[in-house]
């Protein structure tokens, strides 16, 4: 358990003339047990921040540290215990040839559990996301989008990471299903006291889930602070524009 810190992070794709810097000197701290929202439009660099934390892209500058330890210096298995990710598309993030039980159990592989303990832990994790043992032998294609996303959440929590990165995890779901997934996430965050970076373009959802929020525009974090404060009295023009664009019910 600890504090994840992003210090002066820059990420550049491509080389030479085709190089594009999509994250520019970003600073962000995710304190222990807090949920930080990261909002911005497509191309703003928010998913790249997620990928850099997970080690899926190499930063061109800056570091991501956990309690002062550079994540890039850790072995893959060690890093897995520090950070986990939940992906946007629940139809692409589960291996279609593995059962729900196998998917969750695989994420437990670094915890050194005995087979019986492992089975029990799989059931406990599924229970956390409100799924019964019936789904254990099922393949993902027999699950609905919301169920798949809940399996993905269970998998992320299975590794007992210090921080979980959730990248647009409800944007592929219907609103009623989104509500279920958000409720599950809210409960599990309350009971497990994990830290989370919650990436979304939906400000209402971010406000509902997060304690703090950072607003990103063209690779730069332009504003961050307490979620109520940022949404109540936004300081940056871009934050104001984002808020004004949120469709309101009636």
């Amino acid at each position: 358990m600890g504090e994840l810190a992003i210090r002066d992070l820059s990420v550049t794709y491509g080389r030479g003339g085709a190089a594009r810097t999509v994250v520019k000197h970003a600073d962000l701290v995710i304190p222990q047990g807090k949920v930080i929202g990261l909002v911005g439009e497509s191309g703003s660099g928010k998913s790249t921040v997620a990928r850099a934390i997970l080690g899926l892209v190499k930063p061109s500058g800056g570091v991501v540290t956990m309690d002062g330890v550079n994540l890039a210096s850790l072995r893959a298995a060690e890093r897995a215990r520090r950070v986990q990710m939940i992906f946007q598309d629940p139809y692409g993030s589960l291996n279609p040839r593995m059962t729900v039980g196998q998917i969750v159990a695989e994420a437990l592989s670094h915890r050194g559990l005995r087979p019986a303990e492992r089975r029990a832990e799989v059931l406990r994790l599924l229970e956390l996301v409100s799924m019964s043992s019936e789904v254990v032998p099922r393949l993902p294609r027999r699950l609905s989008g919301g169920q798949r996303q809940r399996v993905a959440i269970a998998r992320a929590f299975a590794a007992q990471p210090d921080v979980i990165v959730a990248d647009e995890i409800t944007s592929a779901l219907d609103v009623s299903v989104q509500a279920q997934v958000l409720n599950v996430l809210r409960e599990i965050l309350a009971s497990e006291r994990h830290s989370m970076l919650f990436i979304s373009h939906n400000l209402a959802v971010v406000r509902y889930i997060c304690d703090h929020v950072a607003v990103m525009q063209e690779g730069v974090i332009v504003e961050q602070g307490d979620v109520e404060q940022v949404m109540g009295s936004p300081q940056h023009d871009y934050t104001r524009a984002l808020l004004a664009a949120v469709p309101r019910l009636v």
Partner: protein, 658 residues
């Protein structure tokens, strides 16, 4: 094995399996039964012509070519199988290895594979065979090596496409090592296409090995396969006295090759399941007969009168739809995604259609636009578009009528725009077809319309291609395209779902402006009730192929009466939602199309459902001004909230939810 199902359920599969079985039996049996007879020499009957005794004639040594052709099946097939195995055993690991390398090494390997593929396979095979020496072994190794680059490429591209998927990224973030990622996450998901390719490649190898023998670098006397039989018969002058001496082995080669290729194709399912297609066609014909939409009797006369009067048509609503249904025949029977919806849209009105995926919202609007493709069938008791019964129009008149009166805007502008045509040409295309505009008039029109939808510098942008436009700009171009003929109605199906919130706001504002300035009626389809209510004056809520509620947007929070509408409203968090309590959810999941409940489709998920709801679908009945609701037990926000509190007390299992 599910994958092998097509082998006994499809025509191609059955033919392929029967042929293969015959060849396998022949390969096993023929050498045992006729092996000796096929090599027995009969000096007195050398180079015999076709006869009842020797169908394919005889060789220079008087051996029966027909028997030799049969016996050669074993060697020909075994050689081809080994060649294919060599190709797979070399190609597959090379491809997998290449895909697991770093970017630079991968580039090098890919280059090598590409050069190998570009090299003609027969030349490669000949080259290898010459090095190895002569004989069957040389042919097999040659062909096997010639097959390898194709497998390597396939394995590499398949692996690369799977490796990009999120579940592989998820495995990496879990710290799973590369070997396990390969065996557990990648290989099982590329196995199917590789197996299919393997089956097909055996067919190619049969031809390849025969070719090698025919060219004299393969099987040679005393051994013989189909290829060597052909060249021997040709050299020994058997073709004219006994044409089958060459045609026979050639036919066997071709048939065996075709059998393996068909096997691969039928597993791949690239050839349509003819039985299923037949059933779908039959159901579609039946449906068309029973769903014929033209009304009879008095109603028809009245409609015809309305359509004939020009005064009526200018005052008529843009849309009058009664009992619209959409049916799709499938191999498992007919499903009804839209089960009878009725609505009237006044000129210049803005309505939103909301519902979860599968509610029928998109299909019902496509049906109105006559865009349901075969085998789907549409029926309606009434389908009038600004006073014209569009079901009566000839296909040409319908295309013209809808082309000038209706504009469709879809979710993904990139796939609705032609990537190879300049924006300006696409925007003006419909007007050039319908009004016969010249190229320069079309250009003027495109500039004007692109300007209207807020695209800066339209005279420059119209020369660009769709990929040079951002998503928002593409959607604007789509709208501009629809506006060229001053349509009476724009149907926008999730037009902003793929866009960012600020761009979404701009597109919604644009639709509102067009509505205000041009009086164009707008139907906005969305799964997001907030998007719809921010633009539309009226909301239609769909579920299970039916309209559940139709009400003014203003009344959504105060007047909404259907439990489903109320649940949708509560489920969306807004910027004032209470953070301390869970969001309202809808337990259960939408009904499957094939198992639609007899009563209210929402009853299984509804907290207020009674046996009456499960038995009969409530009609969509008026309930106040401009408000219709289909519910036996209408509710209010207060009663729904009270029920939710009561439920929370006994928190039920939400498993199996959507």
């Amino acid at each position: 094995m599910k994958m092998l199902r097509p082998l006994y359920t499809t025509a191609t599969g059955i033919v392929a399996s029967v042929m293969l079985l015959a060849f396998i039996v022949l390969a096993i049996v023929a050498p045992m039964v006729w092996g000796d007879a096929a090599v027995a020499r009969d000096i007195l009957d050398r180079n015999a012509p076709t006869s009842a005794e020797h169908w394919f004639g005889t060789t220079r040594l008087g051996q029966d070519i027909f028997l030799r052709t049969l016996v050669a099946t074993r060697l020909s097939l075994v050689a081809a199988l080994i060649a294919a195995a060599i190709g797979i055993c070399i190609g597959l690991p090379v491809g997998l290895f290449a895909s697991a390398l770093g970017p630079r090494a991968k580039g090098f390997f890919t280059g090598v594979i590409n050069v190998m593929i570009a090299f003609p396979a027969v030349l490669l095979a000949l080259f290898v065979a010459v090095i190895v020496g002569a004989g069957t072994k040389a042919a097999v190794i040659g062909i096997g090596i010639a097959m390898a680059p194709g497998f390597a490429r396939l394995a590499q591209t398949m692996t690369a496409s799977v490796a990009k998927l999120d579940y592989v990224a998820a495995a990496r973030t879990m710290g799973i090592g590369t070997p396990r990622i390969l065996t557990r996450h990648i290989l099982p998901n590329v196995a199917e296409p590789l197996v299919i390719q393997a089956a097909t490649s055996v067919g190619v190898c049969i031809l390849g090995v025969a070719t090698m023998s025919f060219l004299g670098v393969g099987t040679a006397s005393p051994a013989y396969d189909w290829g060597s039989l052909m060249i021997t018969a040709q050299k020994e002058g058997n073709f004219y006295p006994a044409p089958l001496s060459v045609i026979g082995p050639a036919t066997m080669t071709a048939l065996a090759g075709i059998a393996f290729v068909m096997l691969g194709e039928s597993i791949a399912g690239t050839i349509q399941d003819t039985q299923a297609t037949g059933k779908v066609n039959r159901l579609a014909r039946q449906l068309r007969a029973t769903m014929k939409g033209i009304p009879q009797g008095a109603a028809a006369a009245e409609l015809a009168a309305a359509g004939a009067s020009p005064a009526a048509s200018s005052l008529a609503p843009v849309l009058e739809v009664d009992n619209l249904k959409v049916a799709f025949p499938t191999a498992d029977g007919v499903v009804w995604p839209v089960r009878g919806i009725s609505l009237t849209l006044a000129a210049g009105e803005r309505i939103g259609v909301v519902g979860e995926s599968g509610s029928g919202k998109t299909l019902s609007m496509l049906a109105i636009a006559q865009l349901i493709d075969y085998p789907g069938q549409v029926s309606a008791d009434r389908l009038d578009f600004s006073g014209t019964d569009i079901r009566r129009l000839s296909p040409a008149a319908l295309s013209r009528f809808l082309g000038t009166n209706l504009a469709m805007v879809f979710q993904n502008p990139m796939s609705s725009l032609n990537p190879a045509m300049r924006i300006g040409v696409q925007v003006a295309e419909s007007s050039r077809v319908h009004r016969g505009l010249s190229a320069s008039e079309g250009r003027q029109l495109a500039i004007e319309k692109l300007g209207e939808v807020g695209i800066p510098e339209p005279e420059l942008r119209l020369r660009q291609y769709p990929f040079e436009f951002s998503g928002g700009m593409q959607q604007r171009a789509m709208i501009a395209m629809g506006l060229t003929e001053a349509p009476k109605l724009i149907i926008a199906d999730e037009p902003t779902t793929a866009l960012d919130v600020t761009v979404q706001r701009q597109i919604l504002d644009l639709l509102e402006r067009i509505n205000a300035e041009e009086g164009t009626a707008i139907v906005l389809i969305s799964h997001d009730i907030a998007v719809v209510t921010s633009v539309c004056a009226r909301v239609i809520v769909m579920y299970g192929g039916l309209i559940m509620e139709d009400l003014p947007t203003d009344g959504l929070l105060t007047e909404a009466a259907h439990p489903y509408t109320l649940a949708l409203v509560e489920a969306v968090p807004d910027t004032h939602t209470d953070k301390t309590s869970p969001l309202a959810t809808i337990p259960g999941r939408p009904p499957a199309l094939a198992a639609m409940p007899p009563g209210c489709p929402f009853a299984p998920r509804c907290a207020f459902a009674t046996p009456e709801c499960e038995a009969t679908q409530p009609p969509l009945a008026p309930s106040g001004i401009g408000h219709r609701v289909a519910c036996h037990h209408p509710q209010t926000r207060a009663t729904v909230a009270a029920a939710a509190v009561a439920r929370a007390g006994s928190r039920e299992e939400v498993d199996g939810d959507g």
